[in-house]
Amino acid sequence: MNSDLIREERHQIEAELLSTVGRRYKKEKLVITVLSLIAIAGIIAWIVQLREGLIVTAMRDYVSWGIYISLLFFFVGISLIGALVSCALRFSGATWRYPLTRIAEAITLSAVFFAGFMPVLDMGRPERLYFLITHGRIQSPILWDIAAIVTYLFGSLIFFYLPLIPDAALMRDRLTNMPAWKRKLYKMMAAGWEGNYLQRKFLNRGIKIMSVVILPVAISVHTVSAWLISMTMRAGWNTSIMGPYFVFGALMAGCAIMIIMMSILRNGYNLQHYLSHTHFSKLAVLLLALTCTYLYFNINKYGVPAYKMQGDEKELLNDLLLGRHAVLFWVTQIFGLIIPIIMLSFQKIRNSIRWVVFVSWLVLICALVNRYIIVIPNMMHPFIPIQGAPAGYATYFPTLIEWLVSAAAMAGFVLVMILLFKAFPIVTIWETEEGVEKAGDEAIGLENMNVKVNVLKNEN
């Protein structure tokens, strides 16, 4: 590749990707206002819950874990995308991952933050979390879960920051018209980066170490979350498949949200060259593989006990397959797995960004409902039914307070993402440049770059 062309392309990449920093997203005001209102309503609802106690929720003796814990599993799940893109794809030598790493890491960071927050929302007395540190039992999966989530959050912060250093230096040097506090922030974050040999050596070493470490940590977070329920003796949970079942469900949901987020950012910030058809098509193949694997796990998890229909599983399975939760269960299986698998099997659909995004929405919404299916019906089938409890204690439908608090958590997740992409480039600039130099535009999935250069020249 011609060195002048590379220099020109580097210039174009830097100019285009730096231009997203601080730029207003399409309809940004409206989006932020709506999300902020939801977040405020949720905070008020949480204050009411703290004042009145968990009696304002629908959680009672049977269902003591409601949608808060279902959302915990959902957030932990989608947070795995960072590990998938930054580690698994890195070690598999997939060069097309370069423009995607920061989006994946931002999803991880935001999701794991709210994952850590969900158990606190579920507690009637959150200040007692302190006792988990002072009186925690190492044997308890709850302690493992908190330890794993905190570790993953800290690790994700480092992993988000490390590749940001060269980009922060670029922002420090190029974005000189920013407000003083922002310039100060970028200078501090750049950590004196000049791109010299030693600095590159240390940075690469750090990224390599984090890539290796974050993968088992990410898997452990979701495995331990699965152990939270599978180490109890309840029907439906008392199975050794829960760890891998959660991990693959998480990877699938993470892949779906990655595609959705990419499409939103691509259109909102005009990043069509960097988040191209190639990326959507490759991620669609990945999503297809993950939905197939998850369907296989579902067949094992539900199919094997359903064949026997024995013991304590019988009532739960009747409830899921034919009873009061049957509609939700079959919706998750058909619209969340079978239809996406059929659709993604066609190359035409995989090559269409619109269809891939549509399928991803299907998968993501059903993955969210599936977390509800994993938690709630099982809690309604305890081994020893409670004697003489009021009728309402054996059913569960979230109250307005729960809906508001949960909606606020979702809104908060998106707001954190908006905040991150407001302050930093959406696509890692230096990694994209490195990818172009090493493998070329096509290999890392950039499209129509030179055409863009010509267009710019003509415009000038």
Binding site: G195, N196, V213, V217
Partner: protein, 187 residues
């Protein structure tokens, strides 16, 4: 002579009040003397119910016996006194104590009795049951203390990961220290 209806009602009301007052006045304050003895297999609780004022045994008083447990009272039997005022009940010799010191708190209660006013008397017996808490459980998954292998595994994994995190933070410090270094080649 014509008697008005309201006068009849007033008289009936006064009669009712007089009867009630008189009935309550007949109830006595009683005393329950509790004694506990034991044989090889049972504790025996003997209660002597007497009039608190005259010390004469009270007949026809139903007494219910309880043992105090952590979250309430456990009924161990009831009986009605005869002319001697003495009744008894039994409970197993291996009954655990009401507290961690091994004290069994026995209660004798009289409630809604026609002869005697409501009252409660208590006495304490020593439990002959050895609390399992006095023999600590070996460290295990389900005991209060974690087994050594679990502690080592947990802290090694956590320590290892956090150690690497801090090493990466140290690398950031090194990046900062290596700015403006003459030997560092700018690429």
């Amino acid at each position: 002579m014509k008697i008005e209806m309201r006068n009849i009602l007033a008289m009936l009301f006064l009669l009712f009040i007089a009867l009630v007052t008189n009935a309550e006045g007949e109830k006595k304050n009683g005393n329950i003397d509790l004694k506990i003895s034991s044989n090889d297999s049972m504790h025996v609780v003997t209660a002597t119910v007497t009039d608190a004022a005259t010390k004469i045994p009270l007949n026809d008083v139903e007494v219910t016996f309880y043992i105090k447990r952590m979250f309430g009272l456990m009924n161990i039997g009831n009986a009605t006194t005869d002319s001697t005022g003495i009744i008894s009940t039994v409970f197993p010799i291996k009954m655990p104590g009401s507290d961690t010191l091994g004290n069994i708190i026995v209660l004798a209660k009289v409630e809604d009795n026609d002869v005697m006013n409501d009252t409660v008397f208590t006495t304490i017996a020593k439990s002959k049951f050895l609390f399992p808490a006095s023999t600590p459980l070996e460290p295990a998954i389900k005991s209060a203390h974690a087994p050594l292998w679990l502690k080592i595994t947990f802290w090694m994994l956590l320590g290892g990961v956090w150690g690497l995190f801090f090493y990466c933070l140290f690398l950031i410090v090194l990046i900062n220290r290596n700015k403006n270094k003459p030997h560092a080649v700018i690429t």
